[in-house]
Amino acid sequence: MLGYYFDLALRSLRRNKMLTALMVVAIALGIGASMTTLTVLHVLSGDPLPGTSSTLFYPQVDPRDMDGYEEGKRPPEQVSWVDGMNLLRAKRADRQALMTGGAVPVQPAQSNIDPFFSDARYTSSDFFPMFKVPFLYGRPWSESEDGAKARVVVISRTLNEKLFGGKDSVGQTLRMKDTAFQVVGVIDLWRPSPRFYDLNMDSYGSLEDVFVPLSTARDVHFEHSGSTDCWGTGGGDEEHAETSPCVWLQFWVQINDSGKVAAYRDYLVHYSQEQKALGRFQRPPNAQLPGLMEWLDINKVVPGDVRLQTWLALGFLLVCLVNTVGLMLAKFLRRAGELGVRRALGASKREVFAQLLVESGVIGLAGGFFGLLLAFVGLWLVRKQPSSYAALAHMSSGMLLVTFLLAVGATLLAGLLPAWRACQITPALQLKSQ
């Protein structure tokens, strides 16, 4: 029966090409705009480390003084050197890494490349295994190299191509800020998006090019960039960053067993109490342990522009759908005579209803197809934009399916009212006027 309805729908749609085209165009425009923005939103609010993100947590403690204290406010977004080091050395989690960002002057050995600044990450060694960073060559540095302030560096594949022509550069020397570093590893293409571990940086930017041990970076006075938040008499100058009352580091932990998360949170509270007893902390213990995805939510990493555009597009889709409801109503009521004959010949209301819904479904499919084409054009346009997330805007197979479901679902929904209205036709009246 469905096949017959399908055939009927095609015939009916062919009969009035103009009206059909109008409906398909309306649906296609609405779907195209919504799917473009939804895809961008989906990509941007995605999980940066699928499979691992649920084991990653971002501990927060509140080391500030009582100035400006308000109950219930979240602790600072970063940790101070003292707290970071204490938590790092305590090793209460399965893995932990303390890190911050910066920019270092790279002085290539080749005379044909001018010195340039590279974004850098200064971190303790667990960064690499904890975030499952893929290595093209070599390996990360070890914990003992962390302690020894070793002059070692891990570089990105991009930098490796720029400086070493893409060859295995492990063991080579890289000069940065007049200090020689030994390359120990090259990171393969890796782009967690958002770049969750340090939200002070461009959240959707590319990976840093240079990774050095945090202790080494402090030792050779690499400049730190990102946010530094001080209280009390804190001045925030680079030289005394270890002792000044400022937060400027990110601390991440990996807790594999979900049962131990509560224990770690308790540990943070104990730590805060202990520090308060020592006189370092003044506020009542305020320890938080958001998971990775929760942390991204709290910080609203998805750009406001993107959300706004999504809402606009959905509003647009709504207008297009109302438009389609009107056109379908016109179309179905115009066929009152035909429907009256079918009803008189024995078709039940339900059957007529099903027939008309199949017709709207066909329109939805066609609209979905053209909408998909428009969405591809839209995403292509998005990728032309200069923003850092632009390059990420690609259609996935999941979104492809969603596009068709949305198109057909929305059109069926739009068809409900006109179809119901058309079913109310009294067959006798229609037959009489013929």
């Binding site: 009206l19 109008l22 165009v25 309306a26 425009l29 609405g30 705009a33 920019a103 002057p105 001018d114 010195p115 340039f116 600044f117 800020k177 007049d178 006075h221 400049e223 001045g235 100058d237 406001g304 522009d305 959300r307 706004l308 555009q309 606009l312 597009a313 509003g315 647009f316 709504l318 207008v319 297009c320 109302v322 438009n323 409801v325 009107g326 056109l327 109503l329 016109a330 179309k331 009521l333 115009r334 934009q385 200069p386 923003s387 009212l417 209205r421 006027s433 013929q434």
Partner: protein
């Protein structure tokens, strides 16, 4: 008015279709007004007056943390001045649309933070090079340029923008007033017409974003590496190219930051690129929306005309002119659109409230509504014209046929 009576009774028989068109107009009205408003807001941001002589400014940014400040400044400024076409050179810490470097919270009583302005620091000649406009107070004297031990001097005399003065001391004369930040103590000796922070609207000030302070500082250990150059606008790209080479040659130990060593017009264009895209997107949505709405009206009106061919024929047969038929459909459209606009106004304000809550959008000015209404009335009339003309062409003969 007598004309409207038959329209009403006809519309009562097509309640559903009428309601749909009205609803579509209402939604279009809400999205249209708000999208237009967002565009205007973005355009206002795009045309912000930075307060500096943008078209003749370029900036050279050197990264060099081991360098001796005074020595570096002397070498680089000498080299830059030697570039043909350079009118003046000054050491600064930032320029509008470059990287912000000097945000700091300030207070008036050593206790309560009130605002986070951007502090511009500049050496001798910086005011002239940047082209800052003083509207009240006095110019800087040589003794105003102090040496900074931290990033700014301890007790400098400063200029602030009019917008910032209004924020700190509403309605009062700001000259001679004082404010504090950390160990610094600032005395206001001048008021500038405009000077935006490097990232206007970047979240530290209000949306106008003109909270800036200009501090005279002796170039040295705390102020080095960033140089503002002034040249003829036409000459600027060449001057910048040569200045980049000259700076690199004069300070081989420093690293030239290519991203930040640009002309100010380039920096501005980069800074607002995202905003321009947003404006384009919004304009696209508006056009598509109007198109879809118009097509919807065309579709439904055509259907009605077709459905009422017989009635139209009868009306023609008993004396209605073509103009009467045309006007009938136009008046009908006008009525429906009016109802749609009425609902749409409520929706517009509801949407604006939602946007205000989540996106820090200001309140929609009331005059958007009549303008939006005019546009939609016009659109409705335009869309209904073709079907209405077709209706007026229906010959009276139709009345005599039985379908």
């Amino acid at each position: 008015m007598t004309q409207f009576a038959p329209i009403f009774s006809a519309l009562r028989r097509h309640r559903l279709a009428t309601a749909l068109i009205a609803l579509e107009i209402a939604l279009a009205c809400a999205v249209l007004c708000n999208a237009c408003f967002l565009i205007v807001e973005q355009l206002r941001a795009l045309h912000i007056d930075s307060g500096v002589a943008e078209s003749s400014l370029a900036v050279i940014n050197l990264g060099c943390d081991g360098c001796k400040g005074a020595d570096l400044n002397a070498r680089v400024t000498t080299a830059l001045r030697a570039v043909p076409g350079v009118q003046s050179v000054a050491v600064v810490n930032a320029v509008p649309f470059a990287q912000p470097t000097g945000y700091a919270g300030i207070n008036l009583d050593h206790e309560h933070f009130i605002a986070v302005p951007h502090f511009y620091a500049g050496g001798p000649g910086a005011v002239e090079t940047l082209g800052l406009q003083l509207v009240a107070g006095r110019a800087f004297q040589p003794e105003d340029f102090q040496t900074a031990e931290l990033w700014l001097p301890q007790n400098p005399s400063v200029w602030i923008t009019r917008a910032f003065a209004e924020r700190l001391w509403p309605g009062q004369d700001p000259l001679g007033k004082e404010f504090f930040s950390d160990q610094h103590h600032f005395r206001v000796i001048g008021v500038m017409a405009h000077l935006t922070p490097p990232d206007p609207g970047g979240g530290h000030g209000d949306s106008a974003g003109e909270w800036s302070v200009f501090v005279p500082v002796n170039p040295g250990a705390s102020l080095n590496g960033v140089y503002a150059l002034r040249a003829n606008p036409g000459d600027l790209p060449r001057v910048l190219r040569e200045a980049r080479d000259a700076a690199q040659k004069a300070a081989p130990e420093a690293v030239l930051d290519l991203q930040q060593s640009r002309t100010v017009p380039e920096l501005r264009s980069d800074f607002f690129r995202q905003t321009r895209i947003m404006v384009g997107t919004l304009a696209g949505v508006i056009v598509a929306l109007l198109l879809v709405t118009a097509l919807g009206i065309v579709g439904l009106a055509s259907f009605w005309v077709q459905q009422r061919r017989k009635q139209i024929g009868i009306r023609r047969a008993i004396g209605a002119t073509r103009g009467d038929i045309l006007h009938y459909f136009q008046a009908e459209n006008f009525l429906i659109v009016t109802v749609g606009i009425a609902i749409g106004m409520v929706l517009t304000f509801a949407l604006n409230l939602v946007l205000m809550k989540f996106y820090e959008v200001p309140r929609l000015p009331v005059y958007y509504l009549p303008v939006g209404a005019l546009v939609l009335w016009g659109l409705g009339q335009l869309a209904v014209l073709a079907p209405a003309l077709r209706a007026s062409q229906v010959p009276p003969m139709v009345a005599t046929r039985s379908v």
